[in-house]
Point group: D2
Chain length 348, copies 4
């Protein structure tokens, strides 16, 4: 770390900081500047130690040099991690699409959607059985019954299932039914839940918190990785900013940035990012063009009667148009998506 001393810090204060740093196991390199002295401290990063040093007399601030996360950093693992779910590989050349309803509402609703998205070329099925709702008076999900319907939909379509878990007490149950455990934006810093899903041994889809920095997001992934489970799929789903014309602001830059900082695959959820189905297609194309490894798209057979997130859901017909367009963009950026692609290529 770099310790920046206050202008006018006394030599004694500088000495005390150096002593404390050495006591904490750092090698120190003071640099006396025109206005300020800075002390380079060589050793492992420990955020709590930085806080302590920041508090010593005469210290203005402490600047970290090393990254706070290790296991998930690209620096320690060059090649992108690939995650296999059934026959699907996330993080490989293919752009993977996870589609389905926001919430599982009924057998008919789920199966209709599942068949339609399978038909259109989706790779995985999404659907919420436990729903985190801002209002206690909104539909909270079907719970266990929802999980059973998801398993049934997998039976019928062969699509692996992604579903959210809200509570450490439910991890074991959800893991029994789901192929990928989703940790939602609101729980990105629910550290106990991160540890539990990590220990489940299942692949984890980790959504970015509503106001999480990329660094905090990667540290949340580090909590999972620290359990020995590195099957982590990061999902950018829009952040909260001052702009309220749409539900959230899709942080598209997070895609290339995360690819630079981490070896984990990253996908994008344009449905939650905008809350507006008319924005889903252009932003899905943008995500692929930016280098995303996949997409998560909400689809509902009758959005106007959806119990949750209707305004951002595509109809099956809109979804299959979207898949067609995505194939073209994927090819343009050197990715591909589904067998159909090669066909549609020859068709050209």
């Amino acid at each position: 770390m770099i310790v920046v001393m206050r202008r006018g810090a006394t030599p004694q204060e500088v000495r005390q900081v150096e002593e404390r740093l050495r006591e904490l196991g750092f090698a120190t390199h003071p640099i006396v500047g025109v206005e300020r002295t800075v002390i380079g401290a060589v050793g492992n990063r420990r955020d709590d130690l930085m806080e302590q040093v920041a508090n010593l007399p005469g210290v203005e601030r402490v600047v970290p040099v090393l990254r706070p996360y290790k296991l998930v950093a690209r620096e320690v693992k060059e090649e992108t991690t690939t995650i296999r779910v059934g026959d699907v590989v996330i993080g490989g050349p293919e752009v993977v699409v996870i589609a389905g309803p926001c919430a599982v509402e009924s057998e008919v609703q789920l199966l209709t959607t599942a068949k339609a998205v399978k038909e259109a070329g989706a790779h995985l099925l999404r659907g919420g059985a436990f729903k985190p709702r801002t209002s206690p008076y909104s539909f909270q999900g079907l719970g266990l019954e929802g999980l059973k319907l998801l398993a049934q939909a997998r039976e019928v379509t062969g699509l692996p299932v992604v579903t959210e878990v809200l509570d450490t007490r439910d991890v074991e149950l959800v893991a029994r039914y789901a192929d990928v455990l989703q940790v939602g934006a609101r729980n990105m810093q629910n550290f106990r839940l991160l540890q539990e899903v990590g220990q489940s041994g299942k692949p984890v889809l980790l959504k970015r918190g509503l106001a999480a920095t990329v660094e905090e997001w990667l540290l949340a992934a580090e909590y999972i990785a620290a359990t020995g489970n590195q099957q982590i799929i990061l999902c950018e789903r829009g952040i909260r900013t001052y702009e309220t014309s749409l539900r959230n602001t899709l942080d598209i830059s997070a895609v290339p940035l995360v690819k630079e900082l981490s070896h984990l695959p990253i996908i994008v959820d344009p449905s939650h990012a905008t809350g507006n189905q008319r924005m889903v297609l252009p932003l899905a194309r943008a995500a692929v063009a930016a280098g995303a490894d996949g997409l998560m798209i909400e689809v509902h057979p009758d959005p106007a009667r959806a119990l949750s997130d209707g305004p951002q859901s595509l109809t099956p017909a809109q979804f299959s148009r979207l898949m067609e367009e995505l194939r073209r963009v994927a090819l343009a950026v050197g990715r591909h998506s589904l067998p159909q692609v090669s066909l549609s290529c020859q068709a050209r």
Copy 2:
């Protein structure tokens, strides 16, 4: 709710929306404007129904009229809720001060701090046994041992104890040792945890989420209230904005705003709001002047060796100066704080 139709929506689209609204149990009042038609829909607010209607053909947007929360709204309960913890009343004329270390580190550290803050006039003792830390490599708290030390500190000082609970599985345990259960900013929308702490029957201190709107915060409180437990203390602790000179941005306006919207008491945590001990005193004074019912202040006997949040912790000496200043401001705004006050008044 008010349904705003798109410019150029067809009479048939308007009719369909009206029909759907009536089907959903609303009385409808269409208003044909110069450019747009709007439909007033009279009935109870249901956010999921608003989403459905927003998705009908020809609809531009839906504007809610009623507030989404009910039990915690000032509209339904004029007088401010007061919460009794031991002999302390939160939400009354007195400005209540909760003080202590960020994390419980040792018997000596906790007891020294507890005695010092008691001495200076604090009303409750704070201290974290389970710590939510951004990095998995930071100190995570002493857990059960920390809870026992808190109980011991209560024995010694008579101060009721406030401590955070992170996991639904720990609620019962923590409730056995603590007088007030704290739900931290990162868990404000951990809805299962809200329900569990609500059912514990203990008073709950609910911190505002890092990027939570006041409305979302009150809806989180509504989750607790819906369990039948209205002993909820709201705590403003700074929000995340683009400004990074300090850790967070203290949203001081939330104090008078919450007082207008809700009957629940609200306190302010200037320590977490700034992450800088030099800012704690002026902002604590500001919070009292703005009408806060109390304060939460971090105090540590040796901040430069604190295992957590040293930079924002006051020394016992700084804390007792702060208490003196708060008394003067409290009196100036018609509140008071502790017996000592009357004395210091006569002293004048």
Copy 3:
């Protein structure tokens, strides 16, 4: 507008609001709800009148129904506005690329860059003669000399020139040398400047303010349009959010959103949006995939010696690779870019 009365507003308060609304020329439609009364007021939107009504006794809030901008709204003009600059058409099927250095530094620097970007297929040349710098101690631009060098570069390359104007007093001068006048993010609400550039009769490139909503941005465009000049190119260049890993946050959603709300063309500046040259290529591709009508890209022959914005500038070699990639994405989304495109198509 819709006037929402407070819960418990008296019939007399409702009557007074209705009277005032009629006095202001609105037709009123009161709707008595379960908890609240709302009053629909039919007439033209006037934000100052909304403020007045919001202030009447018993009023909780006023909700606008109509959009505050008119001339730039898609509602009043279906087809996208196309702007011709020399032989270039902005807003048409072609994706237009504006490239050049952040600041004009010297004849050699500018001409080298201009020739290189022309070579690579850029349509317009950018370069700052008057630079708005956060610090008074940073390079402020060459001023008039810079304008002359831009004109010279146009001579040599045939590329029309885009440059920024900072001061109402400079508009006439800059208009004498430039083909397109740029209003920078910091001046988006410098309303006098907007009026002056509008009156210049030149096409205007209007950058989005650092924290401007899309609505405020379109209202700034409305200021220009109100002078009778509708040759306005909107430019998304990143907004300020809590996320600081990159300089700004590119609001990619603004592209499809603006296309829905306005008939004006919109381009994207990934260089300023990220401040990091490694992010420029993926985000430029994303912008085209999202439907942008063009791009603004910073190019410098020797970024490590640039007097401004070096970290985000591409070298000529990087820029020509970018152009190649953009062509593929443009084709994939049904746009095209430059003659070379057709060739590269046949090449396939």
Copy 4:
């Protein structure tokens, strides 16, 4: 500055960076760490040079050590700058109150307000003659006529006048009528305007930009100071955040923070910060308690008919109650406000 090299940067890259730094006039101190090498560079801060170095091969990032502003920094001038306007001293022990209407609307409106605020104890009169309005269709101010009315109000009441200037071309005119020139939030980075108002020799009230960091704000003040005019009053007026329950978010922490970083006086404008007159009183009290040197308050004789900002304007009666409360808070924090204070003290 501190140059942090990428992990795995080659010795040659490190050497090249050192050479470049020395070429730029810095003394270099390389520190070889476990994972990374950092280079301490001693010399004057130049942001453009930092950008150049950040762009050299092998460099991860550059961390500034020195503050970018000099003239306005507390570091270079211990004592707070006091600014005399007529008999009023801003930055001294007294809490100074600037009050008046948002916009000058008419002789009656302005004089009524001016007399009322004088009566209640205000020190200066505010009123806008040139109004920056988001919409081109809103009232834009009376211009010259407004300036004349302000001068007339000063005649009648003896209150010095503060008014905003929007355009470099108007500075001379406005300076002829006003005692203090206001630069509004939207023009905080209108650098030409900053230079012009600086050269006018008049005291300048510099509002913080809507999304300006404290550092950018002080750099804007530095632009003024660099003209030789250090009579600068900083005004915190709320920043833009994700929270929209009120118009802006008052950044109360900016008060103690600015006092630490700069010797310039700082005042607070709770009217614009909230856009809601019910919030003005508690936040005005908070500002004084936080250590503000003054307040700027909007007052209108008939807010419900104000042509601008009615919802946040106090009536004269509300304003004089506010003054009474402020006096008590000012005394509690060791400040005072107006002769009346001493009286009201004896009254106790």
